[in-house]
Symmetry: C2
Subunit: 404 residues, 2 copies
């Protein structure tokens, strides 16, 4: 059987092989990119589910609009407009008709690829970035170029040069608590990116699944929330949101906000991708938003993740010393770290991952997060699903594996 | 903003415009392709939903495997193996690992397109066929050729010629109660298609959403169920199934059965399309199958649709006489009809659709169901969601519109 040429662009993922090992008994895994299911608001989801199915659920069980379930589009609009409380700079004004519901934000990325990318088009991403975005866009024939990042997110000077040089079809960014970088783009850089997008007529895709998962204080407002300050920028801005990290990934409900023409074409592509997203999942999310439980849920979740991140930082310093370096994230799920090779220690993260698995601890080496020229010393550690005592033990095993 | 070239292959659908009119008060619609929500087993879905969320629903609310929720893959395997009762010729043996769960069978089609079709590849479909398949495959660059059908399904001699002439990447068929044709492929033709697939090394995609919705007696076994009789044919056969027409479309749960290499690559494509299908929807379907309610539900649904189809046939003959011709379907949701132009009447179905809308009755003209060379006199009427009295009234209005 002969498969489509586009598959040639995809590498069978080393990560899939790694994940097969995660079922090993006794393994401590920092490899996932998952929220902790113990923190899900199961009671709220149960209440919403029962309410949705209680009376005349016919419309929820029937085919629905490709654009999304009406009450959910309205609910997401209200959610975006109330971020951080009324009048907060994080508020974003989006009419219900200005967004479509997607089957997780992964589908929003897929629809952007399907709608915008022709084979050979250039796309600029952060180096490193979400690896499923790299693969997703490559399936549509994208030539992907990475722009370097530091602790304040993407290097905007370099990004501007790359945009002028390559005239990309789009720029994809995770500005807040990036995956895998953990980095957050500064306010000044956000405003400059909006200015560059408007001036050069470049589509910027803001992927924002982690913004609500801050530790001590909220991150800068999203590009979407800032766009009214930069005339013309909204015409070039797409924004992907998701309930996966704040409510439940298993429901597969995300959303795409985009300029009207782009949104209309993405909707057409969605019609032929999956017709629409599960109405039951959508109705549950819509009803959940009316229960006014989300703020309290997030207030409970944030300090747990914050504490786990502190424990991981302390453990890494204590157990691995100058053999590893990292920036401490201010939210999200991830540490992005580098092996320094200090003291002649291993600085190859892929080899280190193998040594770690032998000591029953897992993480993801950084290579697949780069579209090209990987930093082979880099690695991603997620603290989100590992309790504090286990985290201490896991990092201790990492230290033994590296320093043994 | 410049969109991807692949969108040039898609026409903005006249049907979307038509569907906007369906909200008009008093309209009787034969235009939909939907099952009747009044026939859904709401109690069963409610019971399944409560059971799934009752105890430790963490795994259901968390990210899941791209391949699908384990208990559902096992449940679908058992469902396929027990079609029509144990030992029935309709039974199909598929290991749980031999299928993946998709976000409706629309996504199964999308994954087939993504996995197999390179720009310029030829795909053969029935003329007429499901219009979303035409559009879906065109987005991957397919050149689509229609093979003629009659009341016994696709003309296999002509199909064989087209395969030899064009060496297509795949052949897409809805062998049972086709959409829009209502036609059912005969047993002899099914076996010949399997033989041709094996001999020529041609992928055949069997889309089977309607097979359970027979009226009086079961249709011939699916190509999948017949494939063990034709050595080598299973290696070239993909099969799309769905809960949409037998349980609920709103849950968006379908499945794809395919040879291992194709299934593995489709799974990889799904990973970057939507990561996985709603776990809640999947778990509800899995639990529902264990409730042993599906057989009784289908036993209740079949005579309702059968009666509606009889009423529509009688009404069409009575109200429109020799101005219309059609084959009476033996299951499914659709009549496929042709305006004969007898007595100098209108034989242009698109113009007739406009006249009908003025009399508050809707159907879909046949043109968009053809990849090329449409039969402009053809039209599709769905009887599924219109009660008998309303159906009589709707067809009477059609008669007035045509014969006025």
């Amino acid at each position: 059987m002969q498969f489509a040429q586009r598959l040639d662009a995809i590498e069978t993922s080393a990560i899939r092989e790694l994940f097969k090992l995660l079922g090993k008994p006794g393994i401590i895994s920092f490899a996932g990119g998952f929220p902790d299911p113990a923190l899900f608001d199961v009671d709220g989801i149960r209440e919403a589910s029962q309410a949705v199915l209680a009376n005349s659920p016919g419309p929820v069980l029937q085919y629905g609009a490709t654009e999304g379930y009406g009450p959910l589009r309205a609910g997401i609009s209200a959610f975006m407009a109330a971020k951080g409380g009324a009048g907060n700079a994080a508020n974003a004004q989006v009419a219900p008709e200005g967004l479509i519901v997607t089957t997780g934000s992964q589908q929003a990325l897929d629809l952007i690829g399907k709608t915008l990318i022709s084979p050979g088009d250039t796309v600029i991403v952060e180096a490193p970035t979400f690896l499923a975005t790299i693969q997703c866009f490559r399936l549509y024939g994208a030539h992907i170029i990475g722009a370097p990042i530091d602790a304040d997110g993407v290097d905007v000077d370099r990004l501007e040069q790359l945009i002028e040089q390559h005239k990309p079809k789009l720029v994809y960014l995770i500005p807040t608590f990036g995956n895998p970088s953990g980095a957050t783009l500064s306010l000044a850089r956000r405003l400059r990116i909006l200015e560059i997008a408007a001036r050069t007529g470049t589509v910027v895709v803001e992927d924002d699944p982690y913004g609500e998962l801050y530790f001590d204080q909220p991150p800068p407002p999203s590009l979407l929330a800032l766009s009214p300050q930069v005339p013309g920028s909204r015409d070039w801005l797409a924004h992907c949101g998701s309930f996966s990290k704040i409510l439940s990934p298993g429901l597969r409900v995300g959303w795409l906000i985009a300029p009207p023409e782009l949104l209309a074409r993405a909707t057409m592509c969605k019609q032929f991708s999956d017709a629409h997203t599960s109405n039951l999942s959508q109705a549950i999310c819509a009803h959940y938003l009316t229960l006014n439980r989300l703020d309290a849920t997030l207030d409970a979740v944030r300090p747990v993740y914050a504490a786990r991140a502190r424990v991981m930082a302390d453990s890494l310093r204590r157990e691995m010393g100058d053999a590893i370096e990292f920036n401490q994230p201010q939210g999200g799920l991830f540490f992005w770290a580098r092996l320094t090779g200090a003291g002649g220690r291993n600085a190859d993260a892929a080899a280190f991952a193998q040594q770690a698995i032998e000591r029953l601890v897992a993480f993801v080496p950084g290579n697949p997060f780069f579209a090209h020229d990987p930093d082979t010393a880099s690695l991603r550690l997620s603290f989100a699903t590992v309790g504090e005592a286990k985290s201490v033990e896991g990092v201790a095993r990492l230290g033994q594996a590296l320093l043994a």
